[in-house]
């Protein structure tokens, strides 16, 4: 598909994000806001965590480890490992947006704004956009879903105490389900196997050790899923 004309990429990115992408992130972060309220997290810390961490798996890890009373080192290791999947996401997204021949601070800024929702949009739509407009388009897109997410987190935090208990507890279910479904969107056998093995191994190993269980469980289940799913036999694309 040839790139379409785009005289105002910021406005276009904002418009594109306002539908399902913003609503999805709003809903997902409502669950996070509700969860942090129930564990008694300070609202400013909750807001700062959304903006600074801006990754649902890492946010969930932050909330879980903080609720469990984990210290600085446990938190650093847990969030680093929970956020590892951002590395391939950033690695695959930036080359599709970058127009300069070298790395700049703009790459780090876009990487910080990147979410799985934006990543999918970059992979699917970037080639339909004129190259010079892509960065501004996706910055506007990412910033819009981030603002929607912040509003969702505040809404979840503020209303969860006012809601009937059956609804408030069901809201805590929203974020983990949303993330499991996002992972299921990546259609590859090795990915499905890794998810299934991680789902069994991680909770058991984290009962033994929060820090080591997370690291060993993720590495072990991911590696087993990769091997069983034929990752070693697959040829790299030329």
């Amino acid at each position: 598909m040839p790139p379409r004309d785009m005289p105002r990429p910021l406005a276009a990115g904002f418009r594109e994000a306002l539908g399902a992408p913003a609503l999805g992130l709003f809903a997902a972060l409502t669950g996070y806001g509700a969860m942090t309220e129930t564990v008694g997290m300070d609202p400013l810390v909750m807001l700062a965590s959304v903006v600074l961490i801006w990754s649902m798996p890492a946010l969930m890890t932050f909330s879980e480890v903080a609720a469990a009373g984990g210290g600085v080192w446990v938190m650093f290791v847990a969030v680093t490992f929970a956020n590892l999947r951002n590395i391939p996401m950033v690695v695959t997204a930036l080359p599709m947006v970058r127009t300069e021949g070298r790395l700049t601070w703009k790459d780090m800024a876009l990487a910080q704004l990147l979410s799985p929702t934006t990543w999918v949009h970059i992979l699917v739509f970037s080639e339909t956009l004129p190259a010079p407009a892509r960065r501004r388009y996706f910055v506007a897109f990412s910033a819009t879903v981030l603002v929607a997410a912040v509003i969702g987190a505040v809404a979840g935090y503020a209303v969860v105490g006012e809601l009937p208990k059956p609804v408030a507890t069901a809201l805590l279910f929203l974020t983990p389900v949303y993330l499991l479904l996002i992972i299921m969107s990546v259609r590859r056998l090795s990915g499905y196997l890794s998810l299934a093995l991680g789902a069994v191994a991680l909770p058991l190993l984290m009962d033994w050790s929060l820090e080591w269980g997370l690291a060993l469980g993720g590495l072990g289940a991911g590696t087993a899923g990769f091997v069983l799913g034929g990752g070693l036999r697959r040829r790299a694309k030329p």
């Binding site: 600074l52 469990a68 991680g198 993720g218």
Partner: protein
């Protein structure tokens, strides 16, 4: 944990998140993503996130633990069923699972 302690662990979490994004930026200029090592990276990420989410659903440190595990399993199955039957659409699938759990919670409270 005190408020000050929470801000410090938040900074540790930010450092971890920033480190992974920074690593992605540095690698992005040099490495072809469609390789075995990146498939492995993705698998490890999926195992980690999947495990954490299953733990958050079935061994939650929140009031979600007050609901029946069987109800949570049923709601999760409903979300997956809608996801696969309705063209892998995230929002309706998620809301189907959450809606069913809320309905089951109401029914148990009667």
């Amino acid at each position: 944990m005190t408020a000050g302690g929470l801000w410090i662990v938040l900074l540790a979490a930010f450092a971890g998140a920033f480190l992974t994004r920074g690593a992605g930026v540095l690698i992005s200029g040099q490495v072809e993503p469609e390789t075995r090592v990146f498939e492995w990276f993705t698998c490890v990420g999926q195992a980690l996130v999947g495990g954490l989410m299953v733990r958050a659903i079935f061994w939650p440190p929140t009031p979600l633990a007050e609901t029946l595990a069987a109800d949570r399993a049923l709601a999760l199955a409903a979300a997956f069923a809608v996801f696969f039957l309705a063209g892998r659409r995230l929002l309706p699938s998620t809301l189907a699972g959450v809606g069913l759990l809320a309905a089951l919670n109401f029914a148990r409270a009667l």
